[in-house]
């Protein structure tokens, strides 16, 4: 196989930021925007749900777990399909594709964030909550000032792992034609036809560099966390 890198050279900026000049970010830039904003929403939503499950237990917790099982039981592309259908019904007008996919990714990932957070909260010694109660803390104060700060260092690596999944999952926007990296690469491939290997290897390399960097950071945090623990 002979490689001809001119196709990458010719489409380099298009792959990196799409039609940025026309005010429509695409390519790597849109991938990053979608991954980061979906990550922030998923984090808030997931921690919120974990707090609810922790605080109320019982049926609230069971309902949240069933909800999370449902989300995790269907393919992500179906979550995207559902939002494409439901969001216009709720908001009365059609939404930009990138926003719809971002919300779907956030929704999908929030279930995993909830599970990780809850596991982190429940791995703390029960004496921490008891000390809080004995000191007259309210349940929310215990959660916010005692449990979350202590669980946080252990949670960070798993959150980063979820961000890596999220970054890879943005590629599903290809199926609904939102112009992030994979879609843009597909467009270039359809246009030039004869350099699929160069294009998809290059795209794979970009994803690899982004994800491997994040995985490296997560790994270092994890090792750092273990060294600092009491083992």
């Amino acid at each position: 196989m002979e490689f001809d890198y001119s196709v990458l050279h010719d489409n380099f900026t298009y792959l990196l930021w799409g039609r940025m000049a026309d005010g429509q970010p695409g390519g790597v830039l849109l991938t990053l925007i979608m991954a980061v904003s979906a990550g922030v929403i998923a984090l808030l939503l997931g921690i919120g749900m974990a707090a609810l499950a922790w605080r109320f237990g019982g049926w609230t917790r069971r309902a949240l777990f069933v909800w999370a099982e449902f989300i995790r039981g269907i393919p992500l592309i179906f979550v995207i399909f559902w939002l494409y259908f439901l969001l216009p019904v709720v908001f009365g007008s059609s939404m930009p594709g990138a926003l719809t996919v971002t919300l779907a990714l956030a929704w999908f990932t929030s279930a995993a964030v909830m599970h990780s957070t809850l596991a982190g909260l429940e791995s703390l010694p029960v004496g921490q909550s008891e000390a809080g109660i004995a000191s007259g803390f309210s349940q929310w104060q215990i959660l916010r000032t005692l449990l979350l700060p202590q669980a946080w260092p252990n949670l960070l690596p798993s959150y980063l792992g979820l961000l890596i999944s999220l970054l890879k999952d943005t590629s599903l926007a290809f199926i609904v034609n939102v112009p992030e990296l994979t879609t843009v690469a597909g467009q270039v491939n359809n246009r030039v036809q004869i350099y699929p290997a160069e294009i998809f290897l290059f795209v794979g390399l970009i994803y690899y560099l982004l994800c491997a960097t994040l995985a490296g950071i997560a790994g270092r945090w994890m090792r750092g966390g273990n060294r600092g623990s009491l083992r």
Binding site: I77, I164, D169, I175, G186, A197
Partner: protein
């Protein structure tokens, strides 16, 4: 806004044919991909456990590469780039009609889409399965290995009779999760035009605009398949002896102290 659900638009005639064909195609590619992923996992594990840096390095590179790139990009690469590099005679042969390769409900497994989807899903899932199996092996206490070696077990017998049975039982839940994931991820093959369930459901939407009913049926079918697969994998998978021995040990210890167990 009132919705008038019209299930006949999905569950009769041509759309029903599509749903059935898509569901079975998803089932077939899941089975084929799972077999490939399992074989590859065993091979990678063997390669990792053989002495020597080359094997270990290869496995590490494989895992890193397949875990840190999106499956969809991998599928696009296999379908658009790698498949085209196959010898032309092979591609012509695969492109032909092969009555013997047709599975029930007229689904052929000898098509570029089916082969690329199976290949892509198998290679991707092996990287994840391998790490779950490895975690299971690591969870077996070191004393087990020491005991087996002191009994004169070979490395292979140690793996086959001591480590794998316990490791697989310990890690069976996440391993099941990976097979279920493979099934759900087969939906991405719609991106290379593979006519599995997701592809056929989207086809109904453009055929008669019964999007809501179509998505509902698709969602239900994926959930159903996941439940059945999960149940089968748990029912026929290796089981951990449910804390019986530790419990007995604990009872024995609390009652009689050192019994020489």
């Amino acid at each position: 806004m009132a919705w008038h659900l019209d299930w006949a638009g999905v569950l009769t005639g041509q759309p029903l044919q599509w749903v059935i064909s898509g569901f079975l195609t998803t089932l077939y590619v899941t089975l084929a991909g799972s077999v490939l992923a399992t074989v590859l996992t065993v091979a990678l594990l063997a390669l990792r456990l053989t002495p020597g840096k080359v094997g270990r390095g290869f496995v590490a590179a494989y895992v890193s590469l397949f875990r840190n790139t999106p499956l969809l990009v991998q599928l696009l690469f296999w379908y658009f780039a790698a498949y085209g590099v196959l010898p032309q005679t092979w591609r012509f042969y695969i492109g032909d009609v092969h009555p013997w390769a047709v599975l029930p409900v007229n689904v052929s497994w000898l098509t570029p889409e089916f082969l690329c989807a199976t290949w892509g899903l198998g290679l991707f899932s092996a990287a994840f399965l391998l790490e779950e199996v490895q975690a299971g092996l690591n969870s077996v206490p070191a004393g087990q290995t020491e005991a087996a070696l002191s009994q004169g077990f070979s490395r292979w017998a140690l793996l086959r009779y001591v480590l794998l049975p316990q490791g697989l039982a310990n890690a069976w839940q996440p391993i099941t999760g990976q097979y279920l994931n493979l099934m759900k991820l087969s939906s991405l093959a719609t991106g290379i035009g593979f006519s599995e369930l997701t592809y056929q459901i989207s086809r109904i939407e453009s055929y008669n605009a019964h999007a809501l009913e179509g998505f509902a049926v698709g969602t239900a079918l994926y959930l159903l398949l996941g439940l059945v697969m999960g149940w089968l994998l748990v029912a026929f998978g290796p089981k951990r002896p449910r804390e019986k021995k530790p419990w007995l040990l604990a009872v024995a210890k609390s009652h009689g102290g050192q019994n020489g167990v």
